[in-house]
């Protein structure tokens, strides 16, 4: 049987990916350029008996998905710019309380109201450090409509597997671009559900370390009763200020992601084997990057593309390896220098690192990238 295909916008693909992943709860608040995600969810979720709710603001939307997720639902919200800023406190809540959920951030220009309809990639460090306190972060950056679908599925898988919020960040260009999408058959993409407890209800601890760094999570309304708080807590979920317990909990949360890098990281490499210069780009910018690499190769320049699909945790090992074999890494991004800081940090002095920053609401062109590559060589 032929696969179902459709011409879909990135935002629409995102919503369909969520439903494919098993999402049954969406709480949102309209904001350009992410609104279509909510619109499609409002159509699709009631069809499958799920729930869509438009909340009174983005904070409420974030709160609602955390409540929904605690009842066992796979839950998602979607927003942009100012809305993402509003969600930060509860993003931290999801981290500390270890509540699985997916947050879609279709990036637009900022700060503040900025450029509602202009593309941007200026929330990529916010995705890592936006909420206060030490916390782990997973952020995925798809660069095509098909990939938005599959990365949204992967975001749910990682959220449920590691019990934490996962952000999918893409710029307005991929969010609003239309491309042909092939709908995967049921079962074609892996779907991961959260691990539920099997211990006797009286023995259940929501942060029980005997199961490793990620404890099984019971649903509210099941036979397990427990406490959830945003305070630092012990394994039993109740608040504590005991220094050694707080320290152990904080470190475990960072470790659960650090130790799982191999499972979480995902990159695409194009012509990197013999590359003398590497374009490190993500999202729609990587599309210009790939085009530039092809043109440069035609001109005899050994260029390659490294595209992190997982922005956080940042693929530092691989970037370090590449730095040792190339003369320079070019980082084009629609901001004034964000991921480039991470590249500089991990590369140290092994090769030159050059930023192409653009914040005028226009995409970065292949020509801009080609010019910069020639400058470096």
């Amino acid at each position: 049987m032929a696969k179902k295909v459709a011409l879909l916008q990135g935002n629409e693909a995102c919503a369909h990916g969520a439903v494919y992943a098993g999402c049954t709860f969406f709480g949102g608040y309209p904001i350009t350029p992410s609104t279509e995600v909510a619109e499609v969810m409002s159509v699709e979720l009631p069809k499958i008996g799920g729930a869509f709710i438009q909340m009174e603001d983005e904070i409420a939307a974030m709160a609602s998905i955390l409540g929904g997720a605690l009842t066992g639902a796979k839950a998602m919200t979607a927003t942009s710019g100012p809305g993402m800023s509003l969600k930060q406190e509860l993003l931290g809540y999801a981290c500390i309380a270890e509540i699985p959920c997916v947050i879609i951030n279709v990036m637009r220009g900022g700060p503040s109201t900025g450029m509602p309809t202009g593309p941007s990639q200026s929330d990529v460090l916010q995705a890592r450090w936006g909420t206060h306190g030490d916390h782990p972060a997973i952020a995925l950056a798809p660069s095509s409509c098909q990939e938005i679908f599959s990365e949204t599925v992967r975001a749910f898988n990682l959220a449920e597997k590691y019990r934490m919020p996962v952000q999918v960040v893409f710029d307005e260009i991929v969010g609003h671009m239309r491309e042909r999408i092939e709908f995967p058959e049921p079962g074609e993409l892996e779907i991961i559900d959260r691990t539920e407890p099997t211990v006797a209800p009286e023995d259940y601890k929501p942060y029980d370390t005997q199961f490793g760094d990620v404890a099984p999570l019971a649903a509210f309304g099941s036979e397990y009763r427990y406490h959830v708080t945003g305070l630092n807590k012990a394994e039993d979920g109740f608040p504590t200020t005991k220094a050694e317990l707080v320290d152990a909990e904080q470190r475990r949360q960072i470790r659960k992601i650090e130790d799982a890098r191999a499972d979480i990281e995902s990159n695409e490499e194009y012509q990197t084997e013999d590359a003398e210069v590497i374009v490190l780009a993500y999202g729609s910018t990587a599309r210009s990057g790939r085009y530039a690499v092809d043109r440069l190769r035609e001109e005899g320049v050994k260029a390659g593309l490294f595209r992190p699909i997982t922005l956080w945790p940042f693929p530092e090992k691989r970037v370090q390896e590449l730095a040792k074999q190339t003369k320079g890494i070019i980082v084009p991004e629609m901001n004034l220098g964000q991921m480039v800081l991470e590249v500089e940090r991990v590369v140290a002095r092994d090769c030159a690192v050059e930023l192409i920053g653009r914040v005028d609401g226009e995409p970065i062109t292949p020509t801009q990238i080609m010019d910069k590559v020639k400058e470096v060589l």
Binding site: A60, A63, L70, F220, F238
Partner: protein, 273 residues
């Protein structure tokens, strides 16, 4: 009637954090009696709070308990109820939590008429952070951030709830302890958004800064200002000056939100067939 307090709480989590003389303990006992009376299934009942002294309450209760962020209880609770409408949902929190930082969520939960019970412990102050004024601190009173007297007008939480669309609204005080559980029972049984405002006291951060020399003085005040709704009808505006009405202030039947959404599901499924 004998109440089983033990059955409803987590005895291992006591003693609680509240100061001697804090009205939150009286209000909590009333809430426990109400929950005991209703015989709610503990596995199927979520208790949700924000941040503040009052909001520490769920930690002591043997239910599915969720201590959220400051002001966000109603929004988390809405998510729980929408995702699992068969669960009973009870929110608890302070005046600051509920109608200052959480005011937007509070009024919208009322507007939706989502089936939950929201108990506000109104002690007229931000207790937990040391006594800054809240939206219910009487104008002219002293708080740590109104050293020259509070210039702000106040919210009447019950009126706010009625205006926003809550379909059951009641008020009582920590002095009228036995009325607390009776009203909460009615709220729990009510289908839709039920708000029960319990006026109580914070001797530590509000009483000592103002005209109250003791907890007893604060309790006397609660006794003096309360006027049952039935009695109010026979009183003149002058007599009602400075008083607050207690009892069931508002009750109506209006479609409940989760039921409305069930209709949405039916329509969506009918259209996609």
């Amino acid at each position: 009637m004998a109440y089983d307090y033990e059955k409803n709480i987590r005895p291992g989590k006591l003693p609680h954090i509240w100061c001697p003389g804090c009205g939150h303990g009286i209000a909590m006992k009333g809430l426990i009696r109400a929950m005991d009376t209703c015989g709610l299934d503990k596995n199927n009942t979520a208790m949700v709070s924000g941040i503040g002294c009052a909001s520490r309450l769920p930690g002591y209760m043997d239910y599915c308990t969720l201590h959220t962020a400051h002001g966000r209880a109603a929004a988390f609770a809405t998510g729980i109820k929408m995702a699992k409408p068969e669960m009973n949902v009870i929110c608890v929190g302070g005046d600051g939590d509920g109608v200052a930082i959480g005011g937007n969520h509070f009024i919208h939960a009322c507007r939706r008429n989502i089936d939950m019970t929201y108990v506000v412990f109104n002690n007229y102050i931000y207790g937990m952070t040391g006594g800054q004024f809240s939206p219910t601190t009487p104008t002219g009173d002293k708080a740590s951030t109104t050293p020259y007297g509070n210039p702000d007008p106040t919210f009447d939480i019950s009126k706010l709830a009625i205006g926003a669309g809550a379909t059951f609204v009641a008020r009582t005080t920590a002095f009228h302890a036995t009325q607390i559980d009776k009203l909460i029972v009615q709220g729990i049984k009510h289908k839709g958004m039920a708000v029960i405002e319990v006026l109580d006291d914070c001797p530590t951060t509000y009483g000592r800064r103002n005209r109250f020399r003791s907890v007893v003085d604060m309790m006397k005040r609660l006794k003096d200002i309360a006027v049952p709704v039935a009695a109010a009808g026979k009183m003149s505006p002058e007599q009602l000056e400075g008083k607050v009405l207690t009892g069931v202030l508002h009750q109506e039947d209006r479609p409940e939100y989760c039921e409305q959404y069930t209709e949405v599901i039916k329509r969506a499924q009918a259209q996609s067939e």
